[in-house]
């Protein structure tokens, strides 16, 4: 395995690290998108550990910073954020293709990275699969039942609520919160159906760290309906883990899941072979 650093893109404005397997393979490439504003190494270096593990399995990878994130600058174009993300990923595919020979890619994204992967996967013909970590999800009736019913019979919680109302001493955060409005549920559901119709393989891995809107494996079906039961879809809910996999054991289990999903859906002909 070897890693190379690149400045690349239509304005030569992005920075990325390509990881290439020791032996030439016919494997799909894996492109790793930024998680929020964390630069390309990912939360707690998750993206470095992921790409190196996949390189050892025979997959070429590219972890890079989207325009204006991490070490990448602006492209200088007048584009919507969606247009820019699609153009950035297209540049990334071109780079990885040039370095490794791969013509098809799987996208990986956590949180806003999953949303960006979704955006690109909707239209980019080179994308054959996507791994969504804590991507789109919606509070469902089932979510509310699972969330509120246990609380209804929790005397301690009632006591704390009443005590707080009598003495609301705990200051609430006054810091500004910036977030991206999620796409409507029906749009996302239709997008997934369209991706599957095009033959994409989709992997959804959600964590207990988003328990404010997702709290059970059943919620995949509740959110997205029958599309989630189609053959190209894999789902996993890791209740004990947090949103960014801060514990090394959780992170290793996540990487195991991703490696297995990739090897099942995009096997490498000579996986792990030495030069």
């Amino acid at each position: 395995m070897r890693e190379q650093a690149f400045r690349f893109g239509r304005a030569d404005h992005m920075v990325g690290i390509a990881g290439l397997p020791a032996a030439s393979t016919q494997a799909v490439g894996v492109i790793v998108l930024n998680a929020g504003l964390v630069h390309r190494i990912g939360p707690f270096r998750l993206h470095v550990e992921l790409t190196r593990r996949l390189n050892a399995c025979g997959y070429p990878t590219l972890r890079f910073d989207l325009s204006t994130v991490g070490d990448s600058g602006a492209s200088g174009e007048s584009q919507t954020r969606t247009q820019q993300v699609c153009a950035d990923v297209r540049d990334a595919v071109t780079l990885l293709s040039r370095q490794s020979g791969c013509t098809q890619v799987v996208l990986f994204g956590l949180c806003s990275g999953a949303q960006n992967a979704h955006t690109v996967a909707c239209t980019d013909a080179s994308v054959v699969g996507a791994i969504f970590l804590d991507g789109y999800a919606y509070r469902t009736f089932g979510y509310r039942l699972r969330h509120y019913l246990p609380r209804l019979f929790d005397a301690g919680r009632w006591w704390r609520t009443l005590a707080y109302r009598r003495n609301p001493s705990t200051p609430r955060s006054t810091e500004p919160v910036f977030s991206v409005v999620a796409l409507p549920q029906e749009v996302v559901r239709a997008d997934f159906a369209s991706m599957l119709d095009r033959g994409l393989k989709l992997c959804f891995i959600y964590s207990g760290g988003i328990s404010n809107y997702f709290n059970h494996a059943r919620q995949f079906r509740e959110c997205f309906g029958r599309v989630i039961a189609r053959p190209g879809v894999s789902t996993r809910f890791i209740a004990e883990a947090d949103h960014t996999y801060v514990l090394t054991g959780d992170r290793n289990r996540l990487l195991d899941n991703i490696e297995h999903w990739l090897s099942d859906n995009f096997p490498v002909a000579n996986a792990g072979a030495s030069p």
Partner: protein
């Protein structure tokens, strides 16, 4: 802010050092330089939190005509090695190699080091071997034992944080790690034994520690005139901000002004 006559050259991402194991980003100043600055990063999550600030600082210094090299130690960032392989002595050697790389690229022998937290401690400890001409350190860790105790306490609090986990995690789940990064027993011991000694290299301290924190700058032989107190204090140890970037316009201004004045 300095107005630029010409746009800065883009930073060059590169691998350097023995075996090309170290990742760096070199920012040329575009003109012949009399001094260059090496930005020594902190370790662990503090490195990720400071990434944006280091980039902003590199650009600000380059705008002053000073070439800059940012880099990752072995086992950190984009450099080779696993997180559990981070080693204190290797960090010191990497800082020395990075200084040599910067000398070669900038064509100036005079390298000033900047470092935040453990990056400051590394700059202080490696000063002689890396032939740093001056140092600017930001809240450097001088007492490794106290720092280790604080990281242990934060790690213990993290596994029980209801904002992060649905259920508290076992102590064994969180063992041998600090705030998202695996650590070796040898690194723990090296940090326990860390005690920064006075250096003969001219040093300035950027102090943004909380008011209640004990200062030990005098133990470095640094008098008050070389300590620049910044406001507001930097929330290094706030678990609720563990994944929020540390940004400080005041720090960038102060460091840039200091290095501009260094003859």
């Amino acid at each position: 802010m300095t107005m630029l006559a010409t746009p800065l050259e883009a930073e060059l991402p590169l691998y350097f050092g023995a075996g090309g194991e170290l990742f760096g980003l070199y920012q040329s100043a575009g003109t012949p330089a009399r001094k260059a600055v090496l930005l020594c990063p902190p370790l662990g999550q503090e490195q990720i939190r400071c990434h944006r600030l280091y980039r902003q600082l590199a650009h600000a210094l380059a705008a002053e005509g000073i070439p800059v090299l940012r880099f990752d130690y072995y086992g950190c960032g984009d450099s080779a090695g696993a997180s559990a392989q981070v080693d204190w002595q290797r960090c010191l050697a990497d800082a020395r190699d990075a200084a040599d790389e910067l000398r070669q690229r900038s064509k100036t022998d005079r390298v000033i080091a900047f470092g935040a937290r453990l990056g400051g401690s590394i700059a202080l400890t490696a000063a002689a071997a890396a032939r740093f001409s001056e140092l600017v350190v930001w809240d450097p860790v001088l007492d490794g034992n106290a720092y280790v105790a604080r990281l242990d306490a934060m790690q213990n609090a993290l596994r029980r944080d209801p904002q992060r986990f649905c259920k508290p995690r076992l102590a064994s789940d969180a063992a041998d790690q600090w705030l998202g990064f695996a650590i070796s027993k040898s690194l723990r011991q090296q940090l326990v034994e860390l005690r920064c000694e006075p250096t003969t290299v001219p040093t300035w301290v950027m102090d943004s520690l909380a008011p209640t924190t004990t200062r030990e700058w005098q133990s470095l032989g640094i008098d008050a005139s070389r300590v620049n107190v910044l406001q507001p204090p930097t929330p290094w140890d706030d678990l609720g901000r563990l994944e929020l970037a540390i940004l400080s316009h005041a720090l960038i201004q102060a460091v840039t002004a200091q290095l501009r004045e260094v003859a």
